[in-house]
């Protein structure tokens, strides 16, 4: 376990070096969040029907999404891993007396956490300073806040274990970009990053809620504002835990299969 912890630490420290990129990202993310808040405001104001989510819950959802984008976007997978598969560097990884799956898992989590740590603070700070309707509200209660942190960790696990599946697919095709773009749009939609899941009409909503993608950012962001609570919340957390174990199990099995027939391309 210690070994894998050091892989996490290593990648975490590297990630913290890119401070300038974080400032650029701040402007982009702040602008994106604000525009989205404005659009939803116009949408909810011009319709008399009761929205499936409160506006304040929606604003919190949007700002959390922008602040923690680095944790949950499936398309920004670790480029080092793809390069290793492309240029043959993977042979060194396979030589180590460690599990490739666990090693990459630890690295990816480290990379994502460092990036998110750099970015979330300025974005959240800006979101706190905005005037009333566009300001991010405090968590619904202390309990909600701790549940938010807890489910965010599981959600990160689900996201990373899904990314691991994409890495492993590249063992078979050698064309990382294709696969990545292939999954990008669909996952964003299914994870509720394009439109929050409560806005999706039935019967699509029920189907999407069962998929692993709904167990990613959707759960913690909605728990934060108290939008997801009671029985519904318990089911959602249960599903999250289920998908975490299912995806990790599937990933390690395919990874073992792939390692049996690995062909080193270059190096």
């Amino acid at each position: 376990m210690r070994k894998y912890y050091f892989f996490f630490r290593m990648r975490f420290a590297t990630g913290l070096q890119y401070r300038m990129a974080a400032i650029t990202a701040l402007t982009t993310q702040f602008f994106w969040g604000l525009m989205e808040c404005l659009a939803y405001k116009a949408l909810l104001d011009s319709n008399a029907i009761k929205a499936p989510m409160d506006y304040s819950a929606l604003v919190s959802y949007i700002w959390l999404k922008e602040a923690f984008l680095a944790l949950f976007n499936t398309w920004a997978a670790d480029n080092d891993v793809f390069n290793m598969i492309l240029d043959g560097g993977i042979s060194y990884e396979l030589c180590r007396p460690l599990s490739v799956y666990k090693m990459w898992f630890a690295r990816t989590i480290g990379g994502r956490m460092s990036e998110a740590l750099l970015r979330c603070i300025p974005v959240l700070l800006c979101a706190c300073l905005l005037p009333a309707p566009y300001r991010i509200s405090a968590p619904a209660s202390i309990g909600c806040f701790f549940l938010f942190l807890f489910t965010m960790l599981i959600a990160l696990g689900v996201t990373v274990s899904f990314c691991m599946l994409i890495y492993i697919l590249c063992f078979f095709t050698v064309s990382p970009n294709g696969w990545r773009v292939f999954f990008m749009g669909a996952v964003d939609l299914l994870a509720g990053l394009v439109v929050p899941i409560p806005f999706i009409p039935q019967p699509y909503r029920s189907i999407i809620e069962c998929l692993p993608f709904a167990s990613m950012s959707n759960v913690p962001f909605r728990i934060y504002s108290g939008d997801l609570q009671g029985m519904e919340m318990i089911t959602a957390i249960g599903l999250q835990v289920f998908w975490l174990f299912a995806l990790i199990g599937l990933g390690s099995v395919i990874c073992r299969l792939a390692q049996r027939r690995v062909v080193i391309q270059g190096g």
Partner: protein
């Protein structure tokens, strides 16, 4: 004439190299299509519960979305050379271009050509048809001209922004991430007619970066919300913005100091 022939030479060279990775190219095309198409699905999900936004109906938003999407993809397909411009400067490739007796812009544009952008273009086409059907738009010759002018005007505006982003690289080596707010931001948030974001933003998008010239004003005419046919020709105004950006680019080239090897 000569430069057009040269441009096609560039394009065919880039295409040949892309076609060496056929599976990757195919997945990329499908992937880009899915990304753009999920934007369309997102809008239709959202509007299944709501009648409209401000005074625009679902079909009208779809029309707006498809026009912006088409303009952006066309521009990105043809002028993506400017997107990778910071790399050209950093590697010193731009110095080599300066030595050649051919137009600089032509060489930069020719360095990259992204055929994969036909994916989003396909989405734009589908959405346009669905949009026209949904809001039962009666197409006459004047409206078709407006539609074409809007797409072309948008293409000119986004190309001007790409050019502007490339020019920033002359003055700062940092990757021009800021320009993405204007290009990708314009594409993503331009799916709604700009006036829904409020008066302040509409002013910004008219006088600073003239998005409204190809989006908001001609759209009013296209949807029959106004009878003033002058609005149909507003997209031509984006050419002025392009000229300004071009002047800035020329200024940048003249002050350029190499940093590569």
């Amino acid at each position: 004439m000569k430069s057009i022939r040269l441009y096609f030479k560039y394009v065919s060279a880039v295409l040949t190299s892309t076609m060496q990775y056929k599976l990757s190219f195919l997945l990329m095309c499908i992937g880009r299509f899915i990304v753009a198409f999920s934007g369309f699905i997102g809008i239709s999900f959202l509007f299944s519960g709501f009648a409209g936004i401000k005074n625009y109906s679902y079909g009208e938003v779809l029309l707006c979305f498809s026009i912006v999407q088409a303009a952006f993809s066309l521009s990105e397909c043809l002028f993506s050379g400017f997107k990778g411009f910071s790399g050209l400067v950093k590697r010193g490739d731009f110095d080599r271009m300066l030595l050649r007796p051919r137009s600089l812009i032509l060489q930069v544009i020719g360095s990259r050509f992204e055929l994969g952008r036909i994916g989003p273009l396909l989405t734009a086409g589908i959405t346009l048809i669905v949009g026209i059907r949904t809001c039962e738009l009666h197409l006459n010759i004047m409206r078709i001209i407006t539609l074409i002018l809007m797409i072309l005007g948008g293409m000119v505006l986004f190309s001007a922004l790409f050019l502007l982003g490339a020019t920033i690289n002359f003055f700062s080596i940092e990757d021009g991430g800021i320009i993405n707010v204007l290009t990708y931001g314009g594409k993503d948030h331009g799916k709604y007619p700009i006036d829904i974001y409020g008066e302040g933003l509409k002013k910004f998008c008219t006088f600073l970066i003239p998005y409204t010239l190809f989006q908001y004003y001609p759209l009013q005419y296209l949807l029959g919300k106004t009878d003033n046919s002058m609005y149909a020709f507003f997209p031509l105004g984006t050419v002025v913005f392009l000229v300004l950006c071009y002047a800035f680019w020329r200024f940048g080239v003249r002050n350029y100091k190499s940093c590569g090897n």
